[in-house]
Every structure is written in C-alpha cells, then in structure tokens.
C-alpha cells in the first residue's frame, strides 16, 4: 500500500486471489459439453437444473414462451399468442430438446430441429426474467452435449449479422461462420450469418 498517491488501486487480498483462481479452475471450459441432468447456480444465485425435455414440461414451456415480449423475439420466433406458440412447438418438438428449470418453472429451452439435408438447426431461448445470468450459455453447452449422444451430427443456426454478442456466444462453444455472404454487404441490414459445427 502506498502513502504517496490516493489513486493507487488497493492490492487484491490473498483470499480474493485464491477465490478467483478457484473460480477459474472449477468453471467448465467454454467448449465443454456436459450432458443433462445437471445443475448450475446462476449469476443471481438461483439453482438452475438442466433436463432432457419431456412431455410433462410442455405447459410450463408454453408459459415461458408466452412471457416473451415483442422485443425478446428474433426473426419472428417465438410466435405471439398461446395458440400460435402451441402450433409452433408442435412443429419443432420432434427433434431433441433440453430445458432449464428453476424450481418447477421452465426458464430456458434449446432445441435441435432436423432439416431436409440430415442436419439440425439449433435454436435457444431463455425466459426474459432469467437472461444475462449465464443460464443460456450453460444451456447451449448442455444441449450440444445431449444432441451429440442422440445422433445429431452437424448443427447450424442463423444469427442476425448485427447481433455480435450473440454470435460470440455461439463461437465460444465451437461454432464457426459458414459461407460469408459477399463482403461489401456482409453486414447489411437484415443479413444473417450462418454458423455451424460438427459434433
């Protein structure tokens, strides 16, 4: 500690350093793909459990999507209104799904929907009240861990080009950019980046 300048930052305490080291060592590697069931404590101190989706989760899943505001939607999904949410879910739940629970409530959903070419499109949603707490990042990894055990091989998704933070989230778990479309207009309004990885 210096007496000469008040601007000198305080030295980190030994305990704090040990704590940070411990956190870094115990945190799963960003590309690790754990399989459900397992649980995390999120940034808000909530216990979040990850499970393979079952039909008994359906009503709570519908309720989660019903809680999305207009600003929470990307590329038109989830649809607006319970009826449309149900018919959308009926179409996309054929593939593999993993859900995140807080207590009995579904607060996150990652799904793998087969396309016509034998690959799967990934989509992931986190309840608006549970975002920015690390739930989605763990859900993404858990979903990929689960999908890899169920014969899902190549996974792809599209993200709007201006959503750089979201794109980075996918890159962190091993997705890479496919076929950058053009160069001049790469980030034109409305353009999307397709990312994929082989599990």
């Amino acid at each position: 500690m210096s007496n000469h300048s008040t601007a000198t930052p305080p030295e980190p305490s030994v305990l704090g350093t040990v704590h940070t080291l411990y956190e870094n060592l115990t945190r799963p590697h960003p590309s690790a793909k754990p399989r459900p069931p397992w649980a995390i404590v999120d940034a808000e101190g909530r216990e979040i459990r990850y499970r393979v989706y079952e039909e008994r989760h359906y009503d709570s899943l519908v309720a989660m999507y019903d809680a999305f505001g207009l600003g929470d939607r990307a590329q038109g999904v989830p649809p607006v209104g319970e009826d449309r949410i149900r018919s959308w879910l009926d179409a996309v739940l054929d593939g593999e799904s993993v859900v995140a629970h807080h207590g009995d409530q579904v607060v996150g959903h990652v799904l793998f929907v087969p396309d016509n070419g034998g690959d799967h499109e990934l989509a992931i949603y986190v309840h608006p009240d549970y975002q920015r707490a690390g739930i989605g990042r763990a859900l993404l990894r858990t979903g990929l861990g689960h999908a890899s055990t169920r014969g899902v091989d190549r996974v792809w998704l599209c993200v709007e080009a201006h959503r750089r933070g979201v794109e980075q989230l996918y890159r962190d778990v091993g997705f890479t950019l496919d076929d950058p479309i053009g160069t001049t207009f790469h980030d034109a309004p409305g353009s999307t980046h397709e990312l994929s990885q082989t599990l």
Binding site: G76, P79, V92, H120, E121, G182, F185, T192
Partner: protein, 182 residues
C-alpha cells in the same frame, strides 16, 4: 454457367396491344430484362413468381429470362430422372427445358396476358451455389429486375430469406423481388 440458347416467342395476344409496338423495333439495350429464378425450393409459389414477373415485364419488349439453377448433384439427379445419357449430357438449357418446374412456369407465362413482343428465354445454370449463378446471369443479361423465391421459414421457424435469395438480394446490381414460399 451456360448462356441462353433457347428462345420461346410468345404469340401476340390482341391487336390492340400490337399497336403499342414501335414499327421495326429491334433489340435494344433499354428494353426491360427480367430474371425469373425457378428452383426446387420455389415450386409451391410458382404462380406468385409468374405474377411478379408479369408485373415487372411492363408494357414493351420485355425479355423474361427463366432460369433454373442446378447444383452438380441436382443436375446429375435430373439427368437420371429424365433418362438422359449421363455420360454425354445435353446442354443445361435443354435439361432445364424438360424440368417440370420450368415447364410449369413457361406454361403459366404463355397463358398469362403478356404484353406484345414480350419474350421468354430459358437458361440452365450449373453451379455449386445458385446465388452466385443467378447474380452472374443477371449481370450477363443486364437485368433490370431479378425475381427470386425461397423458404421464408427455417426448420426452427425463424424468418429467413434462404441463402440463395439472400445472396441475390445482397449482391445483384438491380432491384430484386423476393417471393416467399408458404
């Protein structure tokens, strides 16, 4: 990519429309040129594609370039399906002419009330990606408009243009009309 070889002339429909034509008119750089992309992804929306093409054709001397973009594998599959000799395949334009989706579009255009002297040209392209093939053709024919269809929804239900349509929308030098699949 191959350039066009086949031309189907439409018959004049009514004498009234004939009166709009300039006597002795020859092909001119200013005549409207429309590229109409017909692909396997667009079969549910052919009528809408044709309507868009007719709307864009306007009144005088338009040429509608009907394009079927094959990938090398879809070209081979089409040859096989149509009982062509895969060892010495005919030109892509000829294969395109035989495709059901192209025949359907040509039929619809012929039935439509096209302006007098509107022309239809057929093109078959073989390229690993349809988007660049369509943009290349649009450049070659100096297109005034490209009409392209595509899936509007991904498997998870996201609203998307589809990679072909997106490529054309972002890279063509002319206006592009997107006709979405249902």
């Amino acid at each position: 990519m191959t350039t066009h070889e086949s031309t189907i002339s439409t018959t004049p429909h009514t004498p009234r429309e004939q009166s709009y034509s300039k006597p002795g008119h020859t092909d001119s750089d200013t005549d409207p040129s429309i590229v109409l992309a017909v692909g396997e992804t667009t079969d549910s929306r052919r009528a809408a594609l044709v309507d868009a093409a007719i709307g864009a054709a306007g009144l005088r001397y338009a040429t509608i370039h009907v394009v079927h973009a094959f990938t090398p594998s879809s070209f081979d599959a089409t040859l096989d399906r149509l009982n062509f000799d895969t060892e010495s395949p005919p030109p892509a334009d000829e294969v395109a002419r035989r495709c059901a989706d192209v025949r359907d579009v040509i039929g619809r255009l012929r039935e439509a009330d096209l302006p007098y002297d509107a022309r239809i040209e057929l093109h078959g392209c073989i390229d690993t990606a349809a988007g660049p093939a369509l943009v290349g053709l649009a450049t070659d024919v100096d297109a005034d408009c490209v009409i392209v269809g595509g899936r509007a929804r991904s498997p998870t239900g996201k609203a998307l243009f589809g990679s072909t349509a997106q490529h054309v929308l972002l890279n063509a030098d002319c206006p592009v009309t997107f006709v979405k699949d249902e």
